[in-house]
Amino acid sequence: MRVLRLVGVAWWLQLKIRSRSAFDGLLSLLYPAFFATTIFMMFRQGDAAGPALLSAAVGSSAMGIWSAVSTTAAFALQTERRQGTLELLVLAPQPFALLLVPLTLSMATIGAYSMAATLLWGRLAFGIEIAIADPLIFVLSVVVTVFAIAMLGMLIAISSIRYRAAWALGSAIEMPVWLICGFLVALSDLPAWVRPLSSVLAPTWGVAAMRAAATGQSPWADLGWCLLTAAGYGLIATLVSRWMVHSARSHATLALS
């Protein structure tokens, strides 16, 4: 119960902090919308209609969730360091990895706004019929995907704690994940060697579940894999963070690396 309260309160606080800058908020809506607009125009140009266009709309709208997390999560601990709050996080009487969950969850939540905005944009500007076969399960798939992407963000945040230019790493992995997780391109169209990599990335399963729920297929297997990979990230992040914090304490390098 205390853990849930911690995550809930910190998530709300982080969400409010992230919503302070109107300029940043505008970017989190506009940047994925630029890509979605281009993609809608490409599919229109290719005379796509019906399920193909719906699938493109779902995939391109989900891109915003990942966009909101990739760069910001990679830079999250550098930001805490600059603000002088990293030490406080490390000293808190809770596992360090757990304290990062609300941080990246708030980023993914902002990505969910952009997902809704992109779907609305597709409907209003491009006349894409957003006929979701199973709206409740679709929303559940979005929630699970947001959570899974937040967990991946947490792993990235912890892994990049010693990398000063972490934002560049986060920015560089934005498009590869869009590509290899099948946001818009079927995994079967990618080279065979990419697929094992796709299968360990939670967004692959999350987007597949959303697409399945939208088109009336069963999303449960994809949702199960999505949660399983997210749990895997949580476990790895916990182990890595313990090692990182121990190393930073013993070498006294927390604020320096």
Binding site: Y31, A33, F35, M41, Q45, M175
Partner: protein, 261 residues
Amino acid sequence: MTNLRIFFVGGLTSYRALFGWLSPWILIPTFLFTPLFQILLFVYIGRTAGVSDDRFFLIGNAVVNAAVPCLFAMGNTIGGERNAGTLPLLIASPASRVPLFLGRALPVILNGFLVAVFALVTGSLLLRVDIPPATWGGIAVAIAACSVSCTGLGLLGAAIALRVRETAVLSNIVLGILIVFAGVNVPIGAMPGWMQGVAEWLPMTHGIEATHDLAAGHRLGEVGGALLTELALGAFYALLGLGLLRWLEWESRAKATLDTA
């Protein structure tokens, strides 16, 4: 003589400072890795959507990546000074603003050119897209024109940075506008009329179109008009940027808002 010194030495010093910040840890993911993945992403989306050929997406996405250093580095000429606490010194200096900022633009133009050429060459090898060797000279000229015009737009962004703190956000928005409107992934002719009207006034549009024509076998002279338009747009935005910089600098002094933007 002083102006020439400010132009060359000042520009180079500023660029080296920028590269102190742009360590290989930033340079490689941002300038080499991301452009290639942008090309691959849109090539695969193009195949899925059943439109155009790989060469179209390769050229559009490789050339538009020249805008990344041109927009972000120019925006950072003001934003970086503010972060380093040296903006008041820069503004207080008696140096003429034209050589001061144009000198900073010169290395950035070269940077943008090299990023786009790397993306185009590596992308064509990865995707096995055949671009005839005889066309590469003309394509290089077209990419250089795009880098110049985008740096002009970047100078406008640098001026706005006197009022806006989030220069990277601003540059991202401008880059997004270029990706949508400049014919990067959708041919200008396939866009609605109002979008074509906007595209006409953007850097990159004419340069990308010229690059497509050159890769298809047109001669440099045949695309000369498009390249001149591209350069004229760059000059227009650069002049606008210098004018805005002058006005905002005056306003910052008058209202004492230089470091509070």
